[in-house]
Amino acid sequence: MQNTATPTVHITLDGKPLEVPAGISVAAAVLGHAHAEHTCKHPVDGSARAPYCLMGVCFECLMEINGEPNVQSCLVTVQEGMTVRRQLSGESA
């Protein structure tokens, strides 16, 4: 599916390497390319959640990016070498 003309970048998701098109958001990479089922356990009710809007409205896409927790990952563009972690423990800052 990936257009060969599209440049890619390498990131890691929960420690696993992932190659995705450059210019897309972290949330789109994790959901549309890595197909992670969910991206966090909700801090209030502990349920599994995943990005809903992909445009900065819902705050369901919070992940740890380069060590910083609770980042709205749909508003961050993937960068070469970026480390992304899903927030699965249910704690929140």
């Binding site: 257009n3 897309i24 958001s25 909700h42 995943a50």
Partner: protein, 462 residues
């Protein structure tokens, strides 16, 4: 850093870009701040990449690329990847690359665009349930909705955008198991009440929707008169239940996409206390402005779908008008010159408005979509249910801000962006009133999360 300029534009979608270009063409000094990494907004997202171009129809691609190229060479100062979290009449506070920055200007144009109307239903927090717009963004990011090709997708809702999304999905080889139609537009289209005005805009209706409807015909099972949508599963949607024709039905799926039309993003303007009005047909708040997007806050303009949802081509016109009008008010161009420059855009915008009047009715949201069972999680952040809201109203809390205070609905990270419309509908319905009569959620600044350090950098005098 604090820089002063003639005009700050917030947002790099069609409206923001055209406002910046128009103002620059009049000779203004312009700074444009946007949250995305590249210009285009939602409509022309990632348009400079072949991946995103592939999904747009040729005319949109051409318009979008021309606009972005014009913007890139117009001489505006451009700050992508910026999180704007504070706004005062002449001042914008934001974070860029982890640093707090503030900008000041004589005028500000906000171009926040629209967003999908968030409509809760039981199970809507399950992974695998998404807004249709979100799904479209995944496709335009070169991604797919599920790991295996061919896994069926269920669409639910109403609105022209859902038709276009369905086409994108079919083009991408996605198998659409069903379209659960919650609208009442079929009948309205037949009645053709406002069709003559629609003809004025034949290009839009003819090419866009007409073609889309033909593509969908016979390829997507459309189920009309659907109510009671519910997603079920453990940690992920596994099936969708709905009612139609007096019976409950069930479809197995791992992806459910909901869409109930587009509403203006009013969050930032609300935080300034700008005046808004309620649209009784489309059931949303929109800012009160003149034809140039001048809000009730003197130095603040708004452009694009954020003023009222007319679509991308209208957003271009609205941006142009705001940019020229501000140049006129600054005295950089004369009244005559402004009049001359605005005339074509004003004419085209008036024509579009009349034409879109038809869509306003044809795709009006069905108020019944807010008839939610008590166990529906309305506030995704604070986990507040429809029942909690009704209970608060029964206890005598009648305004949305009071209900928010006692239930915490709207107090979470998204600040009511996702639950606000449903909170208003439920609070109003429980009192047999219109949502227009129960107030609007007060939005406090900062309207996006900001580190204490960044906030203090700009707000505590050193």
């Amino acid at each position: 850093m604090d820089r002063n300029t003639d005009l700050i534009v917030i947002g790099a979608g069609p409206a923001g870009l055209s406002a910046a270009c128009a103002a620059r063409a009049c000779g203004l000094e312009v700074t444009l701040i946007d949250e995305q990494a590249a210009p285009g907004g939602q409509l022309f997202r990632n348009i400079e990449t072949p991946m995103a171009q592939a999904i747009l129809d040729p005319k949109d691609r051409e318009t979008g690329l021309a606009l972005v190229n014009r913007f890139r060479s117009c001489g505006a100062t451009y700050y992508p990847c910026a999180t704007v979290w504070g706004l005062e009449p002449h001042k914008v506070s934001c974070t860029i690359n982890g640093k707090a920055e503030s900008f000041s200007a004589s005028y500000i144009v906000i171009a926040p665009g629209g967003m999908e109307r968030p409509v809760p239903f039981p199970g809507w927090t399950l992974p695998g349930v998404m807004g249709a717009g979100g799904a479209d963004i995944l496709l335009r990011s070169g991604g797919t909705l599920s790991a295996e090709r061919g896994t069926p997708v269920v669409l639910a809702g109403n609105g022209p955008l859902l038709i276009l999304l369905a086409c994108h999905l079919l083009n991408a080889g996605v198998n659409i198991a069903a379209w659960l139609d919650t609208g009442t537009w079929g009948r309205r289209l037949q009645s053709g009440a406002l069709m003559p005005a629609g003809i004025l805009d034949a290009a839009y209706l003819g090419k866009g929707l007409g073609m889309a409807c033909r593509i969908l015909k016979n390829r997507v099972p459309i189920i009309r008169g659907v109510t009671g949508i519910r997603a079920e599963g453990t940690d992920h949607v596994e099936k969708v239940l709905y009612e139609a024709g007096g019976k409950t039905h069930e479809i197995a799926t791992r992806t459910l996409l909901r869409h109930e039309g587009i509403i203006p993003r009013t969050h930032i303007l609300n935080s300034l206390g700008a005046r808004h009005a309620w649209d009784t047909v489309q059931r949303y708040w929109y800012p009160v402005t003149d034809e140039f997007g001048h809000t009730s806050v003197d130095s603040v303009y708004i452009a694009g779908d954020g003023t009222y949802v007319h679509g991308g081509d209208a957003s271009l016109l609205k941006g142009t008008l705001a940019g020229i009008e501000i140049a006129r008010r600054l005295g950089v161009i004369s009244n005559d010159e402004a009049h001359y420059r605005c005339a074509p855009a004003l004419r085209a915008l008036r024509r579009t408005r009349i034409a879109r009047g038809f869509l306003r009715y044809a795709f009006a949201p069905n108020p019944a979509i807010f008839d939610l069972p008590d166990d529906t999680l309305v506030c995704r952040c604070e986990c507040v249910t429809a029942g909690d809201i009704r209970k608060a109203v029964a206890e005598g809390f009648l305004d949305v801000n009071e209900v928010k205070r006692v239930t915490r609905c709207g107090m979470g990270q998204c600040q009511g962006r996702m639950c606000g419309p449903a909170l208003a509908e439920l609070t109003a319905a429980a009192q047999a009133k219109s949502p227009a009569a129960v107030g609007t959620l007060q939005v406090r600044q900062p309207f996006r999360p900001v580190t204490l350090e960044n906030y203090c950098d700009l707000n505590i005098p050193k």
